[in-house]
Symmetry: C2
Subunit: 435 residues, 2 copies
């Protein structure tokens, strides 16, 4: 077997983690790849004091790695979508396989990069782009290959889950929990990508494409963040038997595919409701296997490196004996990828949790109830909480049965127009996770 040579571009968190795992676990990696995996070239604009390259070639110009004839596999870990895209394109065009942890790159430019790879008889692998070290891409693409995937639901942003867990366990406000996540290094100074659901949407799109055999369509994901969740909502949800989690949801329905990221009430006894802190988990419903769940660290240097190295080993097994790796990036070839319609959020059906402030006087509750019946929304629970001292308004919590979202929005407008209801109504979708 000939050794397989890899080049790493980017020596940040994941890059240095990958450097370390390749070095520390070289013996077992060689045994599992059935060939030595040699790091022969590092492309990085600056040194990382944690990574002593020793005799390994280092280039400040990352494109040198894409041009290096010695490199069989280029590992793209620089992040972003501009330079990273050019780099991956350059590598593919020079006939190198690419392994990347870059979810934005794959979610936004994956279709063209996969096509480019196919043209050059090489492949792109991105296990590390979704849910860190959890081998969820492999599970969807290979482990569940005998199944029609009906839906998948995931906690796929560790920062958001950490914030919600802090709010839930310690009653903190969103802003306080966010500041703590930032202090711990879980959230960026600009936390938009994490807390507004963009990062989760990137990951969701990648999983949905593999699960359903559809093109990557990032622009079609409905995305809502967690910044408007309050500790009160978390408490009321718990009283009703639910936890609030920020989920990515992808579902096949008769009318098309649902692709959405938003806070969600899920039944407390579900495993997914008990995934806490920075951990990730994905629940997948397959036609043959039923539900399966995959849980683990969604971020972190070595957890993400674990996924990068798994991709390298998969490629190395074949490359070492001059075979072509046959597993395709999305699990199926371009001819089997179908343009499935994505359902507009207005047409999605869900049960809803609603919280409003109402005047504590006779008639208001009956007006509220009438709005739902006028809109043909049936109510699972309608609870008026006790008023705070010297307060004439009371929180009213409503749990509806499944209804089309445009219908729910119409009811919300009617509720907000009621004299006895004041302020904005908080609404959170509910997923029962059982069908």
């Amino acid at each position: 077997m000939k050794p397989v040579n890899v080049g790493i571009c980017g020596l940040g968190t994941v890059g240095s983690g990958t450097f370390k795992v390749l070095r520390d676990n070289a013996d077992i990696i060689e045994a599992r790849a059935q060939s030595a995996v040699n790091l022969v070239h590092i492309g990085s604009r600056r040194d990382n004091p944690g990574c002593d390259p020793g005799g390994i070639r280092v280039s400040r110009d990352i494109f040198e790695v894409a041009r290096d004839p010695e490199v069989d596999i280029l590992i793209e870990l620089i992040g972003g979508t501009t330079d990273a895209k050019h780099l991956v394109e350059a590598a593919l065009r020079s006939g190198k396989h690419v392994v990347t942890a870059n979810k934005a790159l794959i979610a936004e430019y994956g279709n063209e990069l996969i096509a480019l790879a196919a043209q050059h008889n090489v492949t792109v692998r991105f296990e590390a782009a979704v849910a860190g070290g959890i081998p969820i891409i492999k599970a969807l693409r290979e482990g569940l290959a005998g199944n029609r995937i009906q839906w998948l639901v995931g906690i796929i942003n560790g920062t958001g889950n950490f914030i919600l867990t802090e709010m839930s366990e310690k009653g903190k406000q969103f802003s306080v929990a966010l500041a703590e996540a930032q202090a711990l290094g879980y959230a960026e100074a600009d936390p938009t990508f994490d807390v507004e659901g963009i990062d989760a949407a990137h990951k969701l799109v990648i999983m949905a494409s593999i699960a359903f055999g559809m093109p990557l369509q990032f622009s079609q994901v409905y995305t809502e963040g967690i910044s408007r969740i309050t500790p009160q909502d978390i408490d009321y949800a718990r009283e009703l038997g639910y936890q609030i989690k920020h989920l990515g949801v992808a579902k096949q329905t008769d009318g098309g595919v649902e692709l959405r990221v938003h806070p969600t009430l899920i039944p407390q006894q579900r495993l997914l409701a008990n995934v806490c802190g920075v951990m990730n988990a994905v629940l997948v419903e397959g036609s043959a296997v039923g539900p399966t769940l995959y849980y683990g660290a969604g971020a972190g240097a070595e957890a993400t490196a674990s996924a990068v190295v798994a991709d390298i080993v998969d490629l190395a097994r074949d490359l070492a004996v001059d075979q072509i790796p046959q597993v395709l990036p999305l699990g199926v070839g371009a001819d089997a990828i179908k343009e499935l319609p994505v359902i507009a959020i207005e047409n999605v059906r869900n049960p809803w949790y609603l919280r409003m402030e109402a005047e504590d006087r006779p008639g208001v509750m009956s007006q509220v109830a009438s709005v739902f019946s006028d809109n043909e929304i049936s109510i699972e629970a309608l609870i008026q909480k006790a008023p705070a001292q010297d307060e004439t308004r009371v929180p009213v919590i409503v749990l509806t049965n499944a209804t089309q979202e445009c219908n729910l929005q119409k009811a919300l407008r009617s509720l907000e127009a009621l004299d006895g209801v004041t302020g904005e109504i908080a609404g959170i979708r509910v997923e029962t996770l059982d069908g």
Copy 2:
């Protein structure tokens, strides 16, 4: 791409499930395998009314399938270890790849079958042999390839977990819960394999070999069943913050590998403690990724078929283009398999839960406590429950810190020799799952 031809031997539960999945999902299987997967031969001693073979060749002599030159992959689903072993040997000798769901066969004869496959340049795959439809073999062998696996712990017998769940949720006695499992078809008329832990031991050995790169050593597993667990133990454990689960445990330690199957107290807030009914789950600790967990149906016709078909698709991708599948049955080649010593159960260290009956009179508790201190076992909790009416004896519950098992056994003999302690002492190991 040329089509890949498979032959199924055995049309029982899993066989008919595989027949159905191959037929119903033929389109997506073809897309994911990048070639048609044709069922060309069925070997079965009798017809299954649920499987209409149509024009597919059927042989009453299952060995006809192993001799059929048209068959590329033989699917062994007849169970047992005598005929199944001969059949698999015959198939490998005729240069056919083998996919099997047979845990006993792999756990007991896997080493020689894998060697035979290597001699004939074919492979044996057995995803379905462990944890039904959960792609745990693929996760250990490929998804976590960059990790040194430190330990794994699994609920890997659905029948046993169903019985414990019934006992836990409804306070049933073991015998009542077992009868219910039998009535529902979850347990066999002779339930020994499931309730005494043999089935779990088979699965544990297979996972441990892949995780640690050691030969399959079924005879080395310490095995203890669930028949002596009482609803009282479940209640007392819960009061202490634990659930009782029947676990397979494989651990790398400095002195060797622990391989054991037994009832175990695990902290209530762990995901594994919330895996209920017939569901399975495996928690794996990897050096890079940390803990990951895999959950799903551990049995059932189509859930198991899901794993069988995943193995077929993996092989078919390469066979369709005349490549040799490079993933080895245990993840590494024979040269990388190391004989690791298996630690005798007496030398394993665990915290313990103990329940005994003691006379409710002054001095007894202090005698009990002395036995532990004499044996240098430190106590986490020692609780005397209230006596039942007209009863002079009370249950005493002890939770110890980690101690070597031979030490614990010595203490148990001293406790049983005490005047104030009557009858046998119930003891259950504790796993904290955090290191």
